[in-house]
């Protein structure tokens, strides 16, 4: 192995996938796909939601077996028997939803699967820690070995995943949408790490829907659409709009065009909201907000400053210990989710797999999660499946959710299509207030364009929209007013005309820019 190794120098092909075909019931996820990776490059795989990116990577990693096609690694056919074997041969994958054991420490997770042992059966924790320290200094990835996974940030967890792969000697790293859940700062740190790794001779396959990131970090981009390769380009010879075009097959408007808002009367008001987070620590320390009909209020802030709890308190998912929430003048404080929804709130939750969907339900079943007991979906206690299915079919096609049919399990949809299914369900109702948290997380550019347009048109038809997002770009381009949240308080609220990235950035970090003193 090492002899062959030495023969591959940077710039030469280290990995090649040839004619890969993979079908699932009702859908061909990969069709005759050719893909290659050169040693020392960052190769981005780009494509619409459901294009088959994750599937291709899972085949490479040995999670799925292709129907047809071959993989060559270092010039030889790669025969693998499951992920553990792939890893042994030098290909590691960091999944978007990490596969770490939460109550264990960083060091314990690192060695999981090939633990150093004492007396043949006890895990040698000291040795595990030593191995971790060694690998983390080698690659310059600082980490706290004794911290429990559940207590560290998502960015840190990702670092553990990367270290885990490196620890097993990965030379090729697959990163499937690593930045979707990272803060901008964490993304920057990840990119530093990635650059260092390729500098050290590793090769990386990177998946992201964010064209800015793709342009910044990759050497080469391969576009895949409907399971087929559209083409490969050098990053230095392309542009975001060309990539979007290749991907979607048409021009995509990367900026939102909207008329200035014509806000009406106040619809929603939150006063002095106080609540705790899951660990019983104060998360909201007196939040005041209001949203008028026909406007989009964007709430921005660094992750973990109370956004999650704010959304949950408004939608009945979390109890307030103090404060008052009103919708159209009606008190809805601490009402259960059902009553909030009946009062006219729709909610796109930030965690699509935990709250948004029942993954084991079919798509159709998921489309009636709040309305299963309403007309026309049921009569008495009897569900009317023909009504449910035809409704599901209608909104699936309206929102372009890519699924073989409405009877497919939601859990087998691609990540972005799961998100689209939730958006389809929520935005198809006619609410008073729309609360959306990270609405476009994991969506491709075409889908983002559609959702943004849709939110603007909801606004224009007189609804109040509360948008919570970690993407500053999204906040800036959609909002009519922006509220900055910091440590459970609203630092300030401003009209979009007055907002600049700098002021927002400062406020998100907790300091009030001089020009905005006293703005509220």
């Amino acid at each position: 192995m090492s002899e062959i190794d030495a023969t591959i120098s940077p710039g030469q092909v280290i990995l090649e996938m040839k004619g890969i075909t993979k079908a699932f019931p009702g859908i061909v996820a990969n069709s005759d796909v050719d893909f290659d990776l050169k040693k020392g490059e960052i190769h981005c795989l780009l494509g619409e939601n459901g294009a088959g990116k994750s599937t291709l990577m899972k085949i490479l990693y040995g999670l799925y077996k292709q129907d047809k096609g071959e993989v060559f690694y270092k010039g030889e056919p790669l025969v693998v028997n499951g992920p553990a074997d792939t890893l042994r041969q030098g290909i590691g994958m960091v999944h978007q939803h990490f596969m770490l054991i939460k109550p264990l420490t960083v060091a314990e997770n690192l060695v999981l699967g090939n633990e150093p042992t004492k007396y043949g059966f006890l895990i040698d924790k000291k040795k595990a820690k030593a191995e971790l320290m060694e690998i983390s200094t080698t690659f310059g990835l600082a980490i706290e070995p004794d911290a429990k996974i559940m207590d560290i940030s998502v960015g840190m967890q990702q670092r553990v995943e990367i270290l885990k792969a490196l620890h097993r000697g990965a030379e090729v790293l697959i990163l499937d949408e690593p930045t979707a859940v990272l803060t901008p700062q964490e993304t920057k740190e990840l990119f530093v790490i990635m650059r260092k790794l390729v500098h050290d001779g590793k090769s990386i396959i990177f998946i992201s829907h964010k064209l800015k990131e793709v342009m910044e970090i990759s050497d080469r981009v391969t576009v895949i659409n409907h399971g087929r390769i559209i083409g490969s380009v050098k990053t230095s010879e392309t542009s975001p709009s060309q990539l979007a075009n290749m991907m979607v097959g048409r021009e995509v408007e990367l900026i939102v065009h909207k008329e200035p808002a014509k806000p009406g009367k106040e619809k929603f008001r939150a006063e002095g909201l106080v609540a705790e987070n899951d660990r019983g620590l104060p998360a909201l320390r007196g939040i005041d907000l209001s949203v008028r009909a026909g406007e989009i209020l964007g709430v921005c802030g660094v992750d973990g400053n109370g956004q999650t709890e704010l959304v949950q308190c408004i939608t009945g998912m979390r109890r307030l210990s103090a404060g008052k929430v009103t919708l159209n003048g009606k008190d809805i404080t601490n009402m259960p989710p059902k009553r909030c929804f009946e009062a006219g709130i729709v909610h796109v939750p930030e965690d699509r797999q935990k709250h948004g969907l029942v993954l084991d339900f079919t798509v159709a079943e998921n489309m009636i999660l709040q309305t299963y007991n309403k007309k026309p979906f049921s009569r008495g206690i009897t569900l009317r499946w023909d009504e449910i299915k035809s409704y599901a079919r209608r909104i699936i096609s309206e929102f372009d959710v890519r699924t073989p049919d409405e009877d497919t399990k939601a859990g087998s949809l691609s990540g972005g299509n799961q998100q689209k299914a939730i958006l389809a369900r929520e935005l198809s109702r006619t609410p008073e207030l729309i609360v959306v948290a990270q609405p476009t997380r994991g969506l491709d550019v075409g889908a983002i364009e559609y959702i943004h347009k849709r939110l603007v048109s909801e606004r224009d038809s007189g609804r109040a929209v509360l948008l919570v997002s970690l993407e500053l770009d999204e906040i800036m381009s959609l909002s009519d007013r922006i509220a900055v949240i910091y440590e459970g308080r609203i630092m300030g609220t401003m009209d979009i005309e007055d907002a600049t990235e700098e002021t927002l950035g400062l406020m998100m970090a907790g300091s009030m820019p001089a020009s905005h003193k006293g703005v509220m």
Partner: protein
């Protein structure tokens, strides 16, 4: 699309069928090892279950309560609950039916019979609601409480049949015989030794009812949503505690019905019991092998009915130790419960055309 559906039905069946197959082969090997001719052994099993009308009848008699308890457990599973308390719910179901069935209220059959049945169901339902409420209100795990409720039911029945509900006319600890108006119809005459009765029809009807309830009604929708993902259910406005109690209630009613039907069709009176009868526990196996599907429970219950009935005839006719069947049952259950073993088994993977992780099972990721 049609093809896809057929395919998925086959996928559901393949694990239980393979498990049964492996169980049978293993049973054969065991018999051979213990010096019994395996062919003779299985012949005894088949003959003992189907060789004569009485045998067929007995097989059905064994199967009937297993259908009810299998359904009870399956329904609990669908809501994410492990109702291990079917045993106790079955006992209070026996008592509830025995007491009401023996009441001479001058009622006509069409009132007395359903009333007796309802009484057994109500007892089971109430019994199951206790752990249900404790789980819903305080988050106490239902398994612990269900087991305690089982013992309470056992000793309570013991007390009752030796005191308050004992038939004073006889010395044995039996309750009074139920009236004819509360007896189920035995197909071959009320006094015939061929005991098969309309209980089996009620059992099949119950399976159809549970199927309808789970998949065609809003109640079933809620129960399944809570079972799959309580957080998403809560988000959707579905009350998790309410549905936990509801599922336990219905589950308990089914287990109670098992007891009622046993009284009304077979025993006609409550006979003192000193140990659990096993219908509740076997119900777990029935539900597992039936993949927690109400219509899967029917063949699964029949399988366990056959094995139970057959274990006696195999011992009698071919000298096969009863434990052999016990081991076979165990193997089948383990294989089904650890379905990953089978799905990961290469030949099966080829048939299914799937990979490591069965399509759809794999949690969708971006």
């Amino acid at each position: 699309m049609e093809r896809k559906k057929d395919n998925s039905a086959i996928k559901e069946l393949i694990v239980p069928v393979t498990a049964v197959f492996i169980g049978l082969v293993l049973g054969g090997i065991l018999m051979t090892l213990t010096g019994v001719n395996a062919i003779e052994g299985y012949k005894a099993l088949i003959m003992g279950c189907f060789g004569r009308l009485e045998y067929v009848s007995e097989t059905i008699v064994y199967t009937t309560p297993l259908i009810f308890t299998g359904l009870a457990i399956a329904l609990g599973f669908r809501c994410g609950l492990f109702n291990i308390g079917c045993e106790g719910q079955y006992i209070v179901g026996l008592i509830g039916a025995a007491v009401v069935g023996a009441m001479d209220l001058g009622l006509p059959t069409f009132i007395h019979l359903p009333l007796t049945m309802l009484s057994g169901m109500a007892c089971g339902a109430i019994w199951a609601s206790v752990p249900g409420l404790l789980k819903a209100k305080f988050g106490i795990h239902e398994v612990v409480n269900s087991i305690m409720m089982n013992y309470i039911a056992l000793y309570l029945s013991h007390y009752l049949v030796n005191g308050p509900i004992k038939d004073p006319g006889i010395t044995s600890p039996y309750s009074r015989e139920i009236l004819d108006t509360a007896k189920l119809w035995r197909f071959f005459g009320q006094n015939s030794p061929i005991r098969v009765n309309s209980g089996i029809i009620i059992a099949i009807a119950a399976a159809l009812f549970v199927y309808y309830l789970l998949f065609k009604t809003t109640i079933g929708y809620q129960i399944r949503a809570v079972g799959f993902n309580p957080e998403a259910a809560r988000y959707g406005g579905i009350s998790v505690p309410t549905n936990i109690v509801a599922a336990m209630f219905i589950s308990g009613a089914l287990a109670g019905l098992a007891g009622a039907v046993q009284i009304m069709g077979i025993q006609f009176k409550f006979l003192d019991i000193f140990a659990f009868q096993g219908y509740g526990l076997d119900g777990i196996a029935v539900a597992l092998v039936g993949k927690s599907h109400p219509l899967g429970v029917l063949p699964s219950a029949l399988l366990f009915g056959i094995l139970q009935r057959g274990s006696q005839t195999m011992q009698m006719l071919a000298g096969v130790p009863k434990e052999t069947i016990g081991i076979m049952q165990g193997v089948i259950i383990i294989i089904v419960a650890a379905e990953g073993i089978i799905k990961g088994w290469l030949p099966i993977r080829k048939i299914l055309g799937t990979d490591k992780k069965a399509a759809g099972k794999e949690v969708g990721r971006a």
